[in-house]
């Protein structure tokens, strides 16, 4: 073949390939291989499984009464219709008929009651437990009807129920197995490496556009990128470094999509212990942090500064970057006012994976300028969970918080960071009993401002959400709210 014919062939391919990718010609039995950094610790979202379980199972294996869509709206899923009483204290849900669990059992009201009680149970480790605490009773007048009574109005009940997996009440321990209603069943789970989901041919809804989904887990972002480059995976759920994007940008073999993220990198103080119980100390550290520089160091051109815990996709977002903006001199003055003119020393429990160690070193260098000495203590994700999240045995820590609408954590004084402002607790509680969404938004916006003024934590930046896939793969979610990754619409052209 001459150079000329090669050129022509290349041009022709360039014209026809994208057309083929956009046409409906996909392999209905394709295996979609999803590369992720978030392996679940177990398979039960009420047992501290981590964000990986939401990514793999939400909407895929388990479904909820409502679904938080990738666009951020809450839509009925296993609910056919529902009514709210005049006082907003009684919800009556009619279930979709003809839904069965993977084990073959039909979905009944008793399963719904069981599933909600799993999340609110004493032993549950769900971070969403408190948001369901207004539920006082769950009745099941017949197999298709669930009546939930509340102690107070709860405007976000449908939203909160989107977190509650509906599990067959015959399944007692689901840490290593599953029994859900979703479009996929659990295939082989090889701990430390991969989790396979197989198409559920008995699914009640529309069939998935692929035959099997394999979540392949990596502990290292570079290895994950190489897996996509060598065609070992089809999609990377969230790219963790801007530098790796250089390999995919401008290459027609890959698609790079930037969506709306809800993942916030935060320096969380233990607000219960000195010196972090002092609001002036917290404000001083916030002012001593050059967040624009930090964001640039980690993400280059990507990412957003928000100045609070609320990302722009939450209805109560306001730009609070001007509160405690970077100002080293005023940080020093505040520290002196707080009684620490010569600074102090604290231990920063730092999860051992990127970007936390590098963020910790950045903070160490920044805070040295105001006389605050940071001792970096590297810990594993498991240690973080037991030491920081459960035992509250820490001074300060770094963590990425992935959830959507999670400002409510600041209304819980028992949360790991121990922030306790009665006004905020009341505002967040009242926002739940709001009669309208406008009222709810108004109250939470107010709470957001108070939390920012208190510098309850140090909100460093909002991650970008970047999905990279092979060009022949389409139909995946791009926003990844709550780290969900619905796989059922993914198509692979072959």
């Amino acid at each position: 073949m001459t150079t000329k014919t090669l050129l022509v062939a290349a041009l022709l391919a360039g014209v026809t390939l994208p057309a083929a990718a956009f046409a409906q010609e996909y392999n209905a039995d394709a295996t979609i291989r999803i590369g992720s950094l978030y392996e679940p610790q177990n398979l039960d979202n009420t047992a501290g499984a981590g964000q990986g379980i939401n990514e793999a199972f939400n909407g895929n294996v388990y479904e909820a009464l409502f679904e938080l869509t990738d666009a951020g709206s809450v839509e009925p899923k296993l609910v056919d219709s529902y009514e709210t009483s005049e006082d907003g204290l009684t919800y009556t849900f009619k279930l979709k008929p003809g839904v069965t669990f993977h084990s073959g059992d039909p979905l009944t009201a008793a399963d719904v009651k069981y599933s909600i009680e799993r999340v609110t149970a004493e032993a549950s480790k769900s971070s969403r437990k408190k948001s369901l605490s207004t539920i006082t009773g769950i009745e099941t007048p017949d197999d298709q009807t669930v009546v939930i009574t509340l102690s107070a109005r709860s405007i976000s009940l449908p939203y909160n129920l989107s977190y509650v997996w509906i599990v067959n009440d015959a399944a007692t321990d689901i840490t290593a197995t599953e029994d859900g209603t979703g479009p996929y069943t659990l295939g082989e789970w090889r701990r430390g490496s991969a989790l396979a989901l197989e198409r559920n041919d008995a699914y009640w809804g529309d069939a998935p556009t692929n035959g099997e989904v394999i979540y392949t887990y990596f502990t290292d972002a570079t290895a994950l990128n190489n897996a996509l480059l060598t065609n070992a995976v089809d999609i990377i759920t969230s790219v963790q470094s801007p530098d790796s994007l250089a390999q995919f940008q401008g290459n027609s073999a890959y698609t790079v999509t930037e969506g709306a993220s809800t993942t916030k990198e935060i320096l969380a103080y233990n607000d219960r212990v000195a010196p972090f119980d002092n609001v002036k100390v917290r404000k001083a550290l916030a002012r001593a942090t050059d967040k624009a520089r930090l964001l640039n160091s980690i993400w280059g051109e990507y990412g957003t500064l928000i100045g609070s815990f609320v990302p722009p996709t939450d209805p109560w977002y306001v730009d609070l970057t001007s509160v405690d903006a970077y100002d080293v001199e005023s940080a020093k003055a505040l520290l002196a006012e707080a009684g620490y003119p010569d600074g102090f020393e604290f231990t920063l429990d730092t999860p051992d994976y990127d970007p936390h160690p590098i963020v910790a070193q950045f903070l160490q260098s920044e805070y040295a300028k105001i006389g605050v000495k940071v001792n970096i203590n590297i810990i594993t994700a498991n240690e973080w969970y037991t030491k920081v999240y459960q035992a509250h045995d820490f001074q300060a820590t770094l963590q990425e918080h992935v959830n959507h609408r999670d400002i409510v954590f600041y209304g819980n004084p028992d949360f790991y960071w121990g922030y306790n402002n009665p006004d905020v607790v009341k505002l967040i509680a009242d926002s739940e009993s709001a009669a309208t969404e406008a009222e709810q938004t108004e109250k939470l916006t107010e709470a957001n401002k108070l939390i920012a003024e208190d510098a309850a934590s140090n909100w460093l930046y909002l991650y970008p959400q970047i999905v990279v896939s092979a060009a022949n793969v389409t139909g995946y979610p791009v926003n990844g709210l709550n780290s969900q990754f619905f796989a059922y619409d993914i198509q692979k052209a072959e």
């Binding site: 470094s241 530098d243 790796s244 001792n375």
Partner: protein, 281 residues
């Protein structure tokens, strides 16, 4: 006659190896010592931009936070040498003591010690070091040094035992014993001076092993915590940017390899300088 013809170029080659080793190790020693009194930049200062390439201001560029990499590499030399020396010192103290005890011990105690050492040696050095670090509360430079020292001691102990046993059957030991010399005196006067040259070569090799093992521990996050700029840690932090700023990973890699090769050449050269049987060959 033929042996002389063959031996002649060998005699020339051997000092070369020794010199190459001395120069490589010497460079690191110089950088490490210099880092105690002078550094181009404050190691934690974010003096430049993100991932700058090599320039007159930053000889090997900067990392993601804009810190000078050359500064970090100099500190890396110091940490590598500290760990190497510390680990070998600990390994030598434990290993030589155990080895000599085993050589003098009764038959069954000697067998038991020898078997234990063989089992310990069967475990990779790094694995033992990881276990020791995991057992201590927090990872720091000292826990890494102690862990590596313990891991290396088994190899030293086995070698010492074998060497000491070889000396113990010599006639002059019997003579010393019959003339009433105490055991400590025999060890000090007869055994240690006789086994010392071989041990010294071994220590140099162990030093190289310790340096690489420390880099591995740091790479795994089990070494000295940040901001201690161990080469392993620099490598690990540069991993995510290896395609856009490869020098960040290449530079600590070269440093590590040059020191490891340096001590190995040094050990080789030392062995030839000390060991008369090899010298005459």
């Amino acid at each position: 006659m033929t042996t002389e013809i063959v031996a002649a170029p060998q005699r020339q080659r051997r000092p070369l190896i020794l010199w190459a080793g001395l120069i490589l190790v010497g460079l690191h020693v110089f950088a490490g010592l210099l880092s105690l009194v002078w550094l181009p930049y404050d190691p934690t200062a974010m003096a430049g931009g993100r991932l700058e390439g090599p320039s007159f201001l930053h000889w090997v560029g900067t990392d993601r936070l804009g810190r000078d990499l050359f500064t970090q590499m100099m500190i890396g030399s110091r940490i590598a040498l500290t760990v190497g020396l510390g680990a070998v010192a600990i390994g030598a103290a434990i290993g030589v003591t155990l080895g000599i005890l085993a050589a003098f011990a009764t038959r069954w105690l000697d067998d038991a010690l020898a078997a234990t050492l063989d089992i310990l040696i069967a475990f990779p050095t790094l694995l033992i070091a990881m276990l020791v670090v995991a057992a201590s509360d927090t990872a720091n430079l000292w826990s890494a040094i102690i862990a590596l020292g313990i891991a290396l001691s088994a190899i030293v102990a086995r070698l010492t035992r074998i060497l000491a046993k070889r000396v113990l059957v010599m006639d002059y030991i019997t003579a010393a014993r019959t003339s009433g010399s105490s055991w400590p005196k025999i060890v000090a006067i007869h055994i240690l001076p006789n086994i010392w040259p071989t041990l010294a070569v071994n220590f140099a090799l162990q030093f190289g092993l310790a340096v690489i093992a420390e880099a591995s521990l740091s790479y795994l996050g089990l070494g000295a915590p940040p901001p201690n700029a161990s080469w392993g840690r620099i490598l690990q932090e540069a991993q995510g940017t290896v395609y856009t700023a490869p020098l960040g990973a290449i530079a600590p890699g070269i440093a590590l390899v040059s020191l490891a090769i340096g001590v190995n050449l040094l050990a080789d050269g030392l062995r030839d300088a000390i060991d008369p049987t090899r010298r005459s060959r």
